[in-house]
């Protein structure tokens, strides 16, 4: 008989037999104990690979371009962070770089590193600490918030100039969706069981 404690109120439950696509909730506080997801490993891998392709496009192609009369200012995803760095805002530049560029990339690389061996039934070294690291990264990946920031900035500048979103903005927007799908396809309960049984 397998047991699990609710991580929000610590109530101990017996793990019930559950159908794919259902979630178990704590009987006392109502938080989700875990969910059983269909083809979790395959789907997470598919979304992750799509995400990596979009990430490549998002960092390398033109991001936003401002046109005002004869003046044109083209930027890339990293321009803002570079500019903050040049203005001496080193901590701020690092924070934005981590939350919107490096951590999302690391998340996808970790997913690939942990899930691909699981798919092929081989054992990746340090898969367990790597996946723990992934779980700690989760709140610090903020690309969806950056996307909202882009919209606000476009509206703010709309009065004084024309803002042309480049290919990278589209890729970045899709990346937000794809990364969310990748993360929500992860069956944490299953992954820990698989990782722990080796």
């Amino acid at each position: 008989m397998q047991q699990i404690a609710c991580h929000e109120c610590d109530l101990v439950h017996t793990v019930p037999k559950m159908a794919v696509g259902t979630s178990a909730r704590c009987v006392r506080c109502g938080s989700v104990l875990f969910s059983i997801k269909a083809q979790s490993i395959d789907r997470t891998l598919a979304w992750t690979i799509a995400g990596l392709v979009l990430y490549g496009v998002a960092v390398s192609f033109p991001f936003l371009t401002m046109k005002s009369g004869a003046i044109m200012q083209q930027t890339a995803l990293l321009s803002g962070m570079q500019q903050l760095f040049l203005q001496g805002e080193i901590v701020l530049a690092t924070l934005v770089l981590l939350t919107c560029v490096l951590i999302p990339l690391l998340q996808m690389l970790i997913l690939l590193y942990v899930f691909l061996p699981l798919k092929l039934n081989i054992r990746a070294i340090y898969a367990i600490p790597t996946f723990r690291l992934f779980q700690h990264f989760r709140p610090w990946s903020m690309i969806e918030i950056y996307m909202l920031g882009i919209l606000v900035a476009i509206v703010k500048l709309a009065k004084i100039a024309t803002i042309v979103p480049g290919l990278a903005v589209g890729a970045f927007g899709l990346l937000v969706i794809v990364l969310t799908c990748a993360i929500s396809s992860i069956d944490t309960h299953l992954i820990w069981q698989r990782l722990g049984s080796d």
Binding site: C29, F34, V91, V96, P129, G149, I150, A153, H189
Partner: protein, 213 residues
């Protein structure tokens, strides 16, 4: 569910749930200066987050102090043909209201002013309710905690707007936007409140119920 035994916490049963992989294992009662590790994932085990209340208070107070310069100092400094204009978070909100984009004003107001203030109030309430061993509405307090934890990161949006503006408006003497001193204070508030929410252990809300039962 009719079984009485089901209403026992892991702590009462002498068990511990891993923060990282949620494996339930026997609490080995580590001696002083020893730590227990999860047998499955190797993560550090604690029955409750270590010094949860003191840590959350410390981080929360730090964030409240930093929130003052974050609002008083300018977020951005715009230079247009030699004349400089400093904008605070609030003047940014009123700019959007006056320029007719009330939706954007609402987004900025919610993310930069409403959410941090609500987070301060909710965390203070949760901390006090745990310290005074309140037994009122534990489920609602758990939901409040869950919301606070989930919503806090969205406050970063203003910092990202500054990042994007700084890159776009870089036209030398014609127009130039620089990050103001408030940006780093504001980013610190968001990061520190996120860590504060993470340091709070919602299981403390429920511990009182079990002692009474």
């Amino acid at each position: 569910m009719k079984n009485e035994k089901i209403f026992a916490s892991a702590k009462q049963l002498g068990l511990v749930s891993c923060h990282d992989c949620h494996l339930l294992s026997r609490w080995p009662k580590p001696a002083h200066r020893q730590i227990a590790l999860c047998p499955r994932c190797g993560g550090p085990l604690h029955q409750r987050k270590v010094h949860s209340i003191a840590r959350t208070w410390a981080l929360l107070l730090a964030a409240i102090i930093l929130y003052i310069p974050a609002n008083v100092l300018p977020m951005t400094v715009t230079t247009t043909l030699g004349s400089a204009q400093a904008d605070t978070i609030m003047s940014g909100v009123s700019y959007f209201i006056h320029s007719g984009s009330w939706e954007i004003a609402l987004v900025i107001f919610t993310a930069s002013i409403f959410v941090p203030l609500m987070k301060f109030i909710i965390l203070i309430y949760l901390l006090l309710s745990v310290q005074f061993k309140s037994v009122k509405r534990p489920k609602d307090r758990t939901v409040l905690y869950r919301i606070t934890e989930a919503v806090g990161r969205w406050s970063m949006v203003d910092v990202y707007v500054v990042t994007i503006l700084v890159a776009l408006v870089k036209l030398g003497v014609l127009a130039n936007i620089e990050a103001g001193p408030a940006a780093i204070y504001f980013a610190s508030v968001v990061v520190i409140t996120m860590i504060a929410a993470e340091s709070f252990d919602p299981r403390l809300i429920w511990d009182v119920m079990e002692v009474d039962a």
